[in-house]
Amino acid sequence: MGELAAFIILSCVTLIPAVVVVTSGNIVRSALSLVPTFLGVTGLYILLHAEFVAGIQILIYAGAITVLLLFVIMLTAGGTGTRIRQVNEQVPLGAMAAVWLGFLILLVIFRTPWQSAATAAPQYNIASVGTAFLTDYVLIFEVTSLVLLVSLIGAIIIARREE
């Protein structure tokens, strides 16, 4: 019961600001509306007992990416871009596509019989995640770190004002 309430609240906290994000005419507002969305997602993770992912989610998304977005918005003209038209001409088509896709996927989801395993909430601890990273998924881990490095260097090279 309480779980359901929390789930509903968190879903609203997630989805309503998300709508604001994609519809607001003020780019800064939509960027700031990302924060509650991410926090709501974090809450969902916590409901799913994935605390570590939740922490990382806040740290990376709310703490880093949002700040980065705001930063770029303010460094570019978007910082004052409240007057500019923010949507292009394919709004109706896009809306239709999104709605239909959502509808169909939901249809598929609800028609699919999920064999859901043990409902007993498992206790994940960070150690197991780390172990998984360094044993089963070590390759993925390494590749990801490599990608991270590459993107770091690339971002610096691209954004750097060449004299």
């Binding site: 779980e3 359901l4 789930f7 997630t14 989805l15 998300a18 994000v21 994609v22 939509s30 969305t37 991410f38 997602v41 969902l44 409901l47 799913l48 007992h49 992912v53 990376i60 998304y61 880093a64 990416i65 980065l68 930063f71 770029v72 460094l75 570019t76 003209a77 978007g78 923010q86 292009n88 394919q90 896009g94 596509a97 896709l101 959502g102 989801i109 609800f110 999920w114 859901s116 395993a117 409902t119 498992p122 994940y124 197991s128 995640v129 998984a132 990273f133 089963d136 993925i140 990801t144 990608v147 991270l148 993107s151 770091l152 690339g154 971002a155 610096i156 691209i158 954004a159 004002r161």
Partner: protein, 103 residues
């Protein structure tokens, strides 16, 4: 009734579609990035939810969620760097005005 897998899937679907809508309709490149972030979050919810309900024992889902978060960070960094570069050279970050390559 208690919360099941489908609930999470539904939420993630909606989030995904919202993000898709944003990606399809926004002119501002940064806004498009936001939409992409939303979609990635939706996928993360899926992963973690599947991990929780389908394979409670393993942590593969969370692992992949973490990997995706990392990649999202990379994507944001590179994308925003590109946006900055484009803005510096074209004075705009609206993707429908960045059309130098069309003619």
């Amino acid at each position: 009734m208690h919360v099941g897998l489908t609930h999470y899937l539904a939420v993630s679907t909606m989030l995904f579609c919202i993000g898709l809508y944003g990606v399809l309709t926004r002119r501002n490149a940064v806004a498009i990035l936001m939409g992409i972030e939303l979609m990635l979050n939706a996928s993360n919810i899926n992963l973690v939810a599947f991990n929780r309900y389908v394979a409670p024992g393993a942590v593969g889902g969370q692992t992949f969620a973490l990997v995706i978060i990392t990649l999202a960070a990379c994507e944001a960094a590179v994308g925003l760097a590109l946006v900055m570069a484009a803005y510096r050279s074209l004075e705009t970050i609206h993707v429908d005005e960045i059309n130098v390559m069309k003619w």
